[in-house]
Structures are given as structure tokens and as C-alpha cells.
């Protein structure tokens, strides 16, 4: 079965549009209901003015309302009831609605009389003209409910847009939709200007109840499946199977009484919290699932707990606390805000950081379109000069700015054909395999801008598009692992056949470049091995023969020549001489020789700071032979029992201080007349590479300080190319 693929951005845009439309509708309805011009409240004394109005203080008791010069209708506290479903019996609700209808009829007349009790120094009755309630006069509690609804659906809808086929995400979105339906409808009738027609209640109350049931059922379903699947998903059908019949009895106000509704909601909430506890127990052996539950469960428990305490408990306990109830909905925001904050850290619903990007992009795009709409709406077509000026401003300032923003946010990087080749070469000829992988990653990111890029556990042999264009799998290329790209173009597009062809071409190009490089490397390696073998077998053997027949005076020269050949050969075989390896090797050689001569060596092991410093061949050689010479002198001439070496490494410099407890070096050793190169010779070699050798000899011991520059940047990569030039940065 084939389902058309929709991009997350499109789904999210739908969610945002839905939220925007419901907000607009709600505000329009709220702004098109008549009111008295001043809010009334219920206190223990009865119905009062909330603040001073009509020349009366706030707190003045309101008695009745009616048409001027006709019998008035008393205003009862019950008429101001915020939530009619707080009444426990359907009969009461019906009576309430009858009075609402009467009051609403009054609000629609052109002139009203309002009578007060004990108005003090003010009039005991005023005449007023009912007007449409301005949106600006709505109290904060209204906006708290609206924001809660928006946040609930926006955040849960965002998760759903990214994981549209995952049941937990769907259930979570259902709960979010429930929050929006509940808070928006409640915001409308709880903040009515005295009355709404019974017909309006007939629409709003069922929507409100449906929302609340969706919220409860969504959470229960969520915690039945997430983070650990407690039951088979088919069991979830039980929820609508139980709740839908009840819902219809509630809408038609039969079978049960009105307070069953609150008991049911309380039951759902307790069940959701109970399921969190069950999840807690069943994830006890799985720390990552436990972490997910810890965050999500805490958010839900807090949000629902505070809500239940503020909203449901007063009703069940028979308290009338209207204000608390309006703000109570705000506590549900904790659930969704908690999710948004914990999403990346705990990988809730397996989402990562990229999820935020898609949210910001979609909301950003939406706001930009909204700005466009607002601009068009405010264009004053009546006044020609103003219109001309507006058009000029738009042309000169707004459009370029908007274009810039749009490009910044949504532009795709394109790559020209001729650049493909250089890009492939850069990947294949990177200095190291790791660099190849980095460059390959950067290239595909640049081309397809996927939200999610992961190493493919089992990479395919060819590029493949999955999930109708949501996912592209790339094979291994030139040292880089196989990659899985998901949600291309910032989540706003799909992998099209053209993209697949492009990816194929790129893989093939890079593969060919890699083959070329390998052939070249094989050739180089072959040639080097041949040279190394010749050096070994011919020159080396001759030198060795010479060495074994030479006299004492020429032996050191031949030994030095052999060790040079070794260094050259190891250089040819591409073995990298890093400082820590050279120091280890040098130390080991010195230790062995001193041990054989019965001299204690006191020399720390090379530390980790020496790792990764690549040594130039000449420096490697100079260092090794200098240490060899110093050790030879100590063994032959010093009469010491201990040699202490103190190395220190500072930026670009190695200093080795050799101190023995012998009787000092004889002159002959210093000038090199006793075999070996002699220290004088050694000093020249060290100075040749820009180092220094200082000697301080005394009858109590000799101290030699060797200063060697490490001058060297990281080893020049063998047949690589320099860092990528910005060929891809040219405007496409």
C-alpha cells in the first residue's frame, strides 16, 4: 500500500495554519459578543462591579437588569458561572441556559437599565448601551487559556509533523488538540460579557468536553505505549469504545448526571498518572527509557496535578473559585513546554536538535507570510499619494529585506556541474581518511541540507531513496562511512529523482577519483619499496661488510651511515615519526645500554603532550644520534653510576638536560678524538638544525643541555591536496 509522502514542514505548516485559524476565529467571536462595558464578578456578597464604572466604585452590588421602564430581571451569582458544566445536574444546566438566553436577549436591545444596591454617593440605577466587547478588554486569564491551547497543539503537532506515523506521537498530538479545544471554548464562555445564547453553549460545551476527553485519552494512550509498550496497540481502541458512548450521553444530557463528567475526567487523570507509575516500574532496567519517562512523566504529572488541584478539586469540594479555574488551564502548558525543552536532551520521540530547526523555520515562514498579509491589508487604496509612498517604501525597503530573510532561512544550495568534479576530487584526495569523511559529509550536507544525517549501519551498494523521498541512503565512499540522510532541504523538501541522479553521479565521480588515488598510491608505494630494498640489500650489505672489517676509528662513521640508511628507509616506507615514539625509542636504547654498563638511568617516560607532534626526518636523526653520543660518553668516560635526564617540552622546543654524577669528561672526549663523533661534531650537527648543545663538565659530574627545535607543522600529507578551496561557495 502506498501512502503519499508529505514533508514534516508541510505537516507542521498545516498545524500552524490550523492553530492560527482557530485563534483568529476565537478572537473574532470574543470580540463580537455584546457586554455591559464593565466586567461583573461574583463575591460572597453577591454580584458586584469588578472595578469602578458608570460613576460608581468597584464593588458596588448589582441587583438587576432590564429594559428601561419595564420590570427588571435580577442578576444572580449563578448567571456569572464561568463553567456551566460545574453544575452537578443537567436540570440546573438547562435552567442556567434559559436565563442566559433571557440575558442575551436583553444585551441585544439598544438601551439597558442596570440597578444597584447601596450605591453610596452614586446613582442606584444607570442607563447603558450594550456594545461589542473589545478584544483589548479581555482579562489575562483569557490570554492564559489561549496561549495554553496554542502551545499545546503547536508543540504536540510539531512532534507529530516529524513523526507522523508513530503512534505515541499521534496520541500526544491528540492530547494537544484536546488542550486547544478545551481552553479555547472555555476561554470564550468563561469570559462572556454576562451572557451567551444557549445555541452557542450547545456548540461550545460539546467541543469543550470532547477536548477534555481527547486530552485524557491521549495521555493514557501515550503512557500505554511510550516509552515502553505496555499493551498491544490494538487495545487502544478500547478508549474510544468506552469514551464515545459516554460522550453522546453527555451531549444529549441523558443516562448519567452532569457530575459524572468530572468524575470521569478525574478517573482519566488518575489512570494516566497510574500508567506513569507502571512505566516507571517497567523501565527499571532500561536507563535510557527511564530518562525519557523521567522527563515526560514529570512534566505530565506536574501539569496535570496542578491543573487538577486548581480546577477540578474546588468543584468536587463544592467550592466556587472561578478565577483559579481560568488560570488552572495554564498549568497544562508545563506538559508541552517540558516536552519542548527536554526533547533534545532526552531524545523524546527519538527527535534531535534538528527538530527545533524545522519548528523555527516553519513558524518563521508563517510569520513572514502574515507580515505580507498585514501589509496588504493596511495599504490604503483611498489616498493616492499615500499609496504611492507606501509602494515606494515596499519596493525599496521591505521587498529586498524580505528577500534577504527568505534566502537566509530557506534558500537551497545548488552546485554547478563543473564544481561537482572538483568537489569529488577534494573528497578523494583529502590528506587523511578522516578528512575524506568530513569533506564528504560537508558536501552532501551542502547539497541536500538534511535535518538528520547519520552513519548507515548497513550501507547499500548504490544510492537509494526510501520513504517516498524522505530518506536517502548513500554507499560508502572514499573512506567515508555510508550515510543516511533524512528530511532534505531543512525538512521542506523530498529527495526527487533528480537528486538521486545527482547523488549517484557524485558517488561515481568520487569513487573514480578514489580509484585513481589508490592506483597512484600503489605506484608510489611500489617504487619506494624498491628503493628501500635496494638501499637495504646493496648499500647496507656493503656498509656492514665494511663495518665488520673496519678499525676502531672508522667504525663510528660506518655505523652512522647505516643508521642514516635506516632512517631513510623508514621514511620511505611512510612510517611517521612522532615525537613520543622517537623519545620512547631513544629512551629505550639509552636505558638498555646504560643497564648493560651498570649505570642507573633516571628518565621519565615521554608524556602524552609529545603525542601527535610529527618530527622532521633531519631532527629525528640529529636527536637520536646526539643522545646516542651523550650516552656513549657517559659509559666510556664519566665513571658515573647514575645519569639523570630531565626533558621539558615547550611550544616548538624540546629541551633535554643530561646530568651524571661522574668525574667529568676528559678533553679528548670533548673534542672527539676518542671515537664517536665527539661532542664538538655533535654540536655542529645540532646547530645545523637550529638547536643548541651546551656542556658543563666538572669533577663532580657533567651536565649537557640539548635544545632542539621541533619546528614542524604536522607532517605534510603524502599525496593529498591542500584544504578545500571555496569552490563550492561561489553563488549558484
Amino acid at each position: 500500500m502506498h501512502r503519499p509522502a508529505v514533508t514534516p514542514a508541510l505537516l507542521l505548516a498545516l498545524v500552524v495554519a490550523f492553530v492560527a485559524a482557530t485563534v483568529a476565529t476565537t478572537l473574532w467571536v470574543a470580540g463580537n459578543t455584546p457586554w455591559l462595558g464593565a466586567p461583573l464578578i461574583v463575591t460572597e456578597r453577591g454580584v458586584e462591579l469588578e472595578r469602578s464604572a458608570f460613576g460608581l466604585r468597584g464593588g458596588t452590588a448589582v441587583q438587576a437588569i432590564g429594559l428601561p421602564a419595564q420590570p427588571l430581571m435580577a442578576i444572580e451569582p449563578r448567571d456569572l458561572l464561568a463553567e456551566p458544566d460545574g453544575l452537578t445536574r443537567y436540570a440546573d444546566i438547562k435552567a442556567f441556559l434559559v436565563r442566559q438566553d433571557q440575558l442575551f436577549a436583553l444585551l441585544q436591545s439598544p438601551l439597558l437599565e442596570l440597578r444597584f444596591i447601596n450605591p453610596g454617593d452614586g446613582p442606584d440605577r444607570v442607563l447603558l448601551v450594550p456594545e461589542m466587547r473589545p478584544v483589548g478588554s479581555l482579562p489575562p486569564s483569557f490570554w492564559v487559556q489561549i496561549i495554553t491551547g496554542v502551545a499545546g497543539l503547536l508543540i504536540s503537532g510539531w512532534v507529530w509533523a516529524l513523526r507522523p506515523r508513530q503512534l505515541p506521537a499521534i496520541l500526544f498530538a491528540i492530547s494537544g488538540l484536546g488542550v486547544l479545544l478545551t481552553t479555547f471554548t472555555s476561554a470564550l464562555y468563561a469570559h462572556r460579557g454576562l451572557a451567551m445564547p444557549a445555541d452557542a453553549y450547545a456548540v461550545l460545551l460539546p467541543i469543550n468536553h470532547a477536548g477534555t476527553l481527547c486530552f485524557g485519552a491521549g495521555l493514557i494512550g501515550l503512557f500505554l505505549l511510550y516509552p515502553r509498550r505496555l499493551v498491544h496497540p490494538a487495545w487502544l481502541w478500547l478508549l474510544p469504545a468506552i469514551l464515545l458512548p459516554y460522550y453522546f450521553t453527555d451531549v444529549f444530557q441523558t443516562v448519567f448526571e452532569a457530575d459524572t463528567y468530572y468524575n470521569l475526567i478525574l478517573g482519566l487523570v488518575v489512570a494516566a498518572l497510574g500508567l506513569i507509575a507502571v512505566q516507571w516500574w517497567s523501565t527499571r532496567h532500561s536507563p535510557d527509557e527511564r530518562a525519557v519517562l523521567g522527563w515526560l512523566g514529570l512534566s505530565v504529572t506536574l501539569g496535570v496535578g496542578i491543573f487538577a488541584f486548581l480546577a477540578i478539586a474546588p468543584d468536587l469540594l463544592g467550592l466556587h473559585n472561578a478565577m483559579a479555574q481560568h488560570y488552572a488551564a495554564g498549568s497544562l502548558i508545563i506538559i508541552y513546554a517540558g516536552l519542548a525543552f527536554g526533547l533534545r536532551r532526552y531524545r523524546l520521540f527519538e527527535l534531535g536538535e534538528w527538530a527545533y530547526r524545522i519548528l523555527f523555520y516553519t513558524v518563521g515562514a508563517f510569520l513572514l507570510l502574515l507580515l505580507d498579509a498585514a501589509l496588504i491589508a493596511t495599504l490604503n487604496l483611498e489616498l493616492a499619494p499615500a499609496l504611492a509612498l507606501s509602494l515606494l517604501l515596499i519596493g525599496l525597503i521591505y521587498l529586498p529585506l524580505r528577500d534577504l530573510l527568505w534566502t537566509r532561512l530557506f534558500a537551497r544550495n545548488r552546485i554547478e556541474q563543473h564544481e561537482l568534479f572538483s568537489a569529488a576530487m577534494e573528497v578523494a584526495f583529502a590528506p587523511s581518511r578522516a578528512d575524506s569523511a568530513t569533506r564528504w559529509n560537508a558536501l552532501v550536507t551542502r547539497l541536500f541540507d538534511p535535518l538528520e544525517i547519520t552513519e548507515h549501519p548497513d550501507p547499500p551498494a548504490h544510492t537509494i531513496v526510501h520513504e517516498d523521498g524522505l530518506q536517502l541512503d548513500l554507499p560508502r565512499v572514499a573512506g567515508a562511512a555510508g550515510l543516511r540522510l533524512r528530511y532534505p532541504f531543512g525538512g521542506s523538501g523530498l529527495f526527487q529523482p533528480g537528486h538521486l541522479a545527482l547523488a549517484n553521479e557524485l558517488v561515481a565521480l568520487t569513487g573514480r577519483a578514489e580509484e585513481g588515488r589508490q592506483a597512484y598510491m600503489r605506484g608510489v608505494g611500489e617504487e619506494r619499496r624498491r628503493m628501500a630494498r635496494d638501499l637495504h640489500d646493496d648499500v647496507g650489505a656493503r656498509l656492514l661488510t665494511g663495518l665488520h672489517t673496519a678499525d676502531e676509528a672508522t667504525r663510528p662513521t660506518l655505523q652512522a651511515a647505516l643508521s642514516d640508511i635506516r632512517a631513510i628507509v623508514s621514511g620511505l616506507s611512510g612510517e611517521e615519526a612522532s615525537l613520543d615514539r622517537v623519545l620512547a625509542e631513544t629512551r629505550h636504547e639509552a636505558a638498555r645500554r646504560l643497564e648493560a654498563a651498570g649505570i642507573t638511568l633516571d628518565c621519565p617516560l615521554p608524556g602524552p603532550e609529545a603525542e601527535g607532534i610529527a618530527l622532521d626526518y633531519r631532527i629525528h636523526k640529529a636527536l637520536t644520534s646526539a643522545v646516542r653520543e651523550i650516552v656513549s660518553n657517559t659509559i666510556r668516560h664519566s665513571g658515573a653510576s647514575r645519569l639523570t635526564v630531565s626533558p621539558s617540552l615547550s611550544s616548538g622546543h624540546l629541551r633535554l638536560v643530561f646530568a651524571d654524577d661522574g668525574t667529568g669528561l676528559p678533553m679528548a672526549a670533548q673534542t672527539g678524538q676518542t671515537g664517536g663523533y665527539g661532542l664538538r661534531n655533535m654540536r655542529h650537527r645540532i646547530e645545523d638544525i637550529g638547536g643548541r648543545l651546551t656542556l658543563d663538565t666538572a669533577p663532580t659530574g657533567t651536565a649537557i643541555t640539548l635544545d632542539i627545535p621541533l619546528l614542524l607543522a604536522p607532517l605534510t600529507p603524502e599525496p593529498g591536496v591542500s584544504d578545500p578551496v571555496d569552490a563550492l561557495n561561489s553563488p549558484a
Binding site: 665488520h548 660506518l558 635506516r566
Partner: protein
């Protein structure tokens, strides 16, 4: 156990006459009562082993022989004559050559351009069962034993052996490593011997696996 000194037999495989003479001097200095036979080619060495191999105690093998690599001899000794001590003598200390020889079963290596007295010392140590291990060889061994195939084979090193190898790779001698770990030098030397054997075993397994993979076996 080792044969009594009087009957100890050594085969020196070396094609350069001067080097051979020099090496004979070194061997005489190290083991005064050793009986040394010399051959110059791989072929001659195999022929000699066919006849006298069983009595062999020590073999000094040059890697670069005119008719092939001395490593063939090492393999044969490891396979057929496990009681023999095969030692590589070479002018090249690069780990690639030496590692191959050690993996084939060499129990030690000596550099032919070292000072004679130093070599005497090395040979005596090899005799005592303390194979030499330079830092770069130790380093290479560490990476060999870290390879996934070896780890999977369960033929890897014990933590103690890894510890010893790490110290050697950082430039310590056997006795220094022993002092650092609070062990006797002989104990550390025995660890090194075990490491040599494990290397030999695992590299043979690896070679077999590689051959199977290529369809050669």
C-alpha cells in the same frame, strides 16, 4: 629443558663472509662451548635442517638471503622444531621487517651493526628466555592485539600483559618495567615470552583467516 652445554648446536645462516666471521666471533664470546655450523643460502639451510635439525638449539637467521627470505626458515623452525631458538640477525630495525619475523616465530632479533659486547649481552638474555622488545615493536604488538579480529578470537592479552607491553612501548626496559610494577624482572620477561607466543598464534590464525577470505584455503 635446554640440552647440556656440551652438545649445543647452532646454525648461522648468513651470506656475507665478513659478517659471518664477525658473527662467529660474537657467538664464541657469548657461548664459548657452542658448536656453530654456517650456511649461506636458504636452500642450504633447508638441506642442513633436513639432516641435523633435530639437534638444533639456536638458529641465527639473516632475513635477506640471496635465494629468499630467512622468515621461511623461522616458520619452519617454529612449526617443526619448537625446541629451537630462532633469532633474526638483520641490519634493519624497521618494525615491518622485524614484526613479520616475530610473528613467524622468531624469539629474538639482533642488529648486525651493534657493538659486539652489546650483542653478546643480548644473546645471553635470549638464552635466558628474555626476548628483546623495542618500543616500536611493542607499539605494533599493542595495535595488533587491539584489532577486532584478535579480540574476537579471545586470544588477546591479559590486563597484566597489556600493562607490560604499554610500558615497554613507552621506552622502558624489562627491568625498569618490573620495578614499576613491583615484579621480578624474570616475571616480566616471562610475560614478554607469552606475548611473543600469543602474537605467533594470533598472527597464524589471522593468516589462515585471510587465506580463507581470499579463497586460498
Amino acid at each position: 629443558m635446554n640440552p647440556s652445554p656440551a652438545t649445543r648446536l647452532c646454525l648461522l645462516i648468513e651470506d656475507q663472509p665478513t659478517t659471518r666471521d664477525w658473527m662467529l666471533g660474537v657467538l664464541a664470546a657469548a657461548f664459548p662451548d657452542l658448536q656453530v655450523e654456517t650456511v649461506a643460502t636458504l636452500k642450504a639451510a633447508h638441506a642442513w635442517l633436513d639432516r641435523h635439525g633435530a639437534a638444533l638449539w639456536l638458529a641465527i637467521v639473516d632475513i635477506g638471503l640471496p635465494d629468499g627470505s630467512g622468515i621461511d626458515i623461522i616458520r619452519r623452525l617454529q612449526r617443526d622444531l619448537p625446541a629451537t631458538l630462532p633469532v633474526v640477525a638483520t641490519i634493519y630495525d624497521d618494525d615491518a621487517h622485524l614484526f613479520e619475523a616475530i610473528a613467524a616465530g622468531a624469539r629474538g632479533y639482533i642488529l648486525k651493526d651493534e657493538e659486539a659486547d652489546l650483542l653478546v649481552n643480548y644473546l645471553r638474555r635470549i638464552e635466558r628466555g628474555e626476548p628483546p622488545l623495542s618500543p616500536s615493536i611493542a607499539h605494533r604488538m599493542l595495535s595488533h592485539f587491539r584489532a577486532p579480529a584478535v579480540v574476537e578470537d579471545d586470544a588477546g592479552l591479559s590486563p597484566r600483559e597489556t600493562e607490560v607491553l604499554t610500558l615497554l612501548a613507552r621506552g622502558m626496559t624489562v627491568s625498569e618495567a618490573a620495578a614499576r610494577l613491583g615484579l621480578q624482572p624474570q616475571t616480566v620477561a616471562s610475560y614478554v615470552k607469552v606475548i611473543y607466543q600469543k602474537l605467533c598464534v594470533t598472527s597464524r590464525a589471522e593468516a589462515t583467516r585471510e587465506a580463507v577470505r581470499r579463497g586460498l584455503a
